[in-house]
Subunit: 360 residues, 2 copies
DNA sequence: CCAGAGTGCTCAAACGATTGAGCAACCGAG
DNA sequence: CTCGGTTGCTCAATCGTTTGAGCACTCTGG
């Protein structure tokens, strides 16, 4: 009541246009001398706003460094301007894994292109909690979510997929056929790796160190391994040890394979960490890699390149995975026609030394 | 049945309590039969709300899976419930660096404890843009920011520090004495590493591969290197090559040091990536590590542990850095008395094989 | 029987952005 | 001169949450 816009009211209230705090539509409005609505419409390039007004508004917005308040916009629009990247199980080795970081780089890039912020969401160590990411999503802090590295049986995943929020899964989820997901062909990748050992290096007695079998990725890589063995023209002997993607497990599983299978010629590990563990075990037994036992890993996030010998591996294009997942999520959010439910990014065998190939 | 409870208004408005979409204060209110205000106060455990009402509200909130809409809350409160982690310069080697990920783990942990979301903010590749993170902060999507790995001369940093938003810097910023920062004593760390080469292994001719000297971290590590040389009871000879923290630079700088300083006995690299590059160069010249040339790195994010020989390094507690930075940021946001402007987390020398110490 | 205190709620306003409805001014055609 | 259309804005309501003010009621002491 004691207020007005362009008037020079001597009221003590600091309701001034150029007051402290970030610029708002109102502050621009009072500078330009129009209503906040007009400012909003001008910035949106609404046809019913005059050219001069638009120019004046844009100039004032630039001068004041105006950026729309995200809470106000989200509240009105009914949806946030952020997307969330969700990592359901925060075992340290998951969130801390380089895979996740590469994913994030890709997601971030795609999100930047859409002027969208990226929210990281994970569980605290105590998993009896109703899940931190659940709260983030229910609070509508994110317009959608990308879910990475979930176990097959994680009930949270299907709950979120059915939760009404746009969700893109990373990986393959055959038991959730209606879910949108972006993954890679792990079966083909693992088969290629195994076939390389068989066909290029003539190895016949091969052990596989798999990941935990409640992860689809572990299942698929094991499947690819068996496929390659089965399709081999020469008869091959296979063996399996189940690990948990950790270096320690790789070491223990390698020991198990070596003890259980005389004349073992090669080990294919479902990720590089375990391959490195296997390398340590082989080395400690005085076995040479690749001369005595050949070794192949999976992932190629830097680990495998650094070891001596460098580990032959299958490159997982995590960054591309993140990029595509984000783009798909934006399609979902924008309600674009979306018949595609699963997309694979190409994988690639990276032959280094541990399989017996010549060093570079 | 699609209508409100106590009012039998025949209006066609689908204002029903249990309508589609997420639960709101209003929907709880109409279930319980009180006003939205009462619900809000009940959930906040306000003393002026009766015990029975509180219980009914809490039960209804639980049943409906109510989580406060973050946009509404942020708008009303005038501040977001997220914090941002900002990485000003997105050269791939910065955002993609494991350091960043460890930082994120720590930040995330502390943020989870405060029911706060973590926003990742970085620049797209094209840096002519007014900066993506700038927009995030100006849009008030975050209540505060943690800024990681900024160059000394990055004008964005001081702008953000002075921008009114609570900001915690990671690292040491001697030219921004009023800024709150969390870092580590790189001078001491580098001195310890260098001193180890001098005192434990008796080396006297030592080269340093530094990072880009517009980074305080690079300056401090170089300073520590020189301090250790200067304080040595035996006269030492030093030499410097300036890199950019990349493996390629490490390799080139190692070549430069080897060519420029006859009888070089040791190399101290300002990070592990460059130490690894140096290792490759030494190896390609047929020089043995550590017998011919000893090698020390800095960071300990996994790389240095994996190489052969494993690289002696200085452990940077990135996770702890992130944790403390987040906690300090919450202090700032909550307006806690905050005289402390800089805090150091302890560093630790990790002696492995590349310096000449016995393997494990 | 009434003042005063205490209890338990409701009301209304506010945060900032957006948008359908509406209104005033003007122009050209009839 | 008036009617219809167009232009260029303003108004008011809305999103969901929070909170100071206020209202109705009960209890207690005098």
């Amino acid at each position: 009541m004691s207020e007005s816009e362009n008037a020079t009211a001597p009221s003590p209230k600091p309701q001034s246009a150029r007051g402290r705090g970030p610029a708002t539509l109102r502050s621009i409005a009072s500078v330009v001398g129009v209503s906040p609505s007009a400012v909003s419409m001008a910035l949106a390039d609404h046809p019913r706003i005059g050219r001069e007004t638009k120019e004046a508004v844009r100039a004032a917005a630039r001068d004041l460094g105006y950026v729309a308040n995200s809470a106000g916009r989200a509240l009105r629009a009914g949806r946030s301007t952020s997307i969330a990247v969700v990592v359901p199980n925060t075992a340290q080795h998951v969130f801390g894994h380089p895979y996740f970081m590469h994913l994030l780089v890709g997601v971030n890039e795609a999100a930047n292109a859409q002027d969208t912020a990226v929210l990281i969401s994970t569980n605290p160590a105590t998993d009896h909690d109703p899940a931190a990411y659940d709260r983030i999503l229910r609070s509508q802090a994110a317009a959608g979510a990308i879910i990475a590295s979930a176990a097959i049986n994680d009930p949270n995943v299907s709950r979120m997929v059915d939760g009404g929020l746009p969700v893109v899964l990373i990986g393959r989820y055959p038991h959730l056929p209606h879910a949108v997901s972006v993954g890679m062909d792990d079966v083909a990748g693992a088969a290629a790796a195994t076939r390389h050992l068989i066909a290029e290096h003539g190895l016949r007695r091969i052990g596989h160190i798999s990941g935990p079998l409640e992860h689809q990725t572990a299942l698929d890589r094991y499947q690819g391994f068996r496929d390659a063995i089965a399709e081999s023209p020469e008869p091959c002997v296979q063996s399996l040890a189940v690990g948990d993607f950790s270096e320690e497990a790789g070491r223990a599983c390698a020991a198990q394979l070596l003890d259980g299978m005389p004349g073992l010629q090669a080990i294919f590990a479902a990720n590089d960490e375990m391959a490195y563990g296997a390398l340590l075990e082989l080395r400690s037994r005085g076995l040479r890699v690749p001369q005595d036992v050949a070794l192949v890993g999976y992932d190629d996030f830097g680990v495998s390149r650094l070891t001596t010998p460098a580990i032959t591996t299958v490159r997982v294009p995590a960054e591309e995975l993140g990029r595509r997942a984000a783009r798909r999520l934006f399609d979902l959010i924008d309600g674009a026609a979306e018949p595609v439910t699963h997309e694979n990014v190409p994988i690639e065998l990276v032959a280094r030394e541990s399989c017996g190939c010549p060093p570079d």
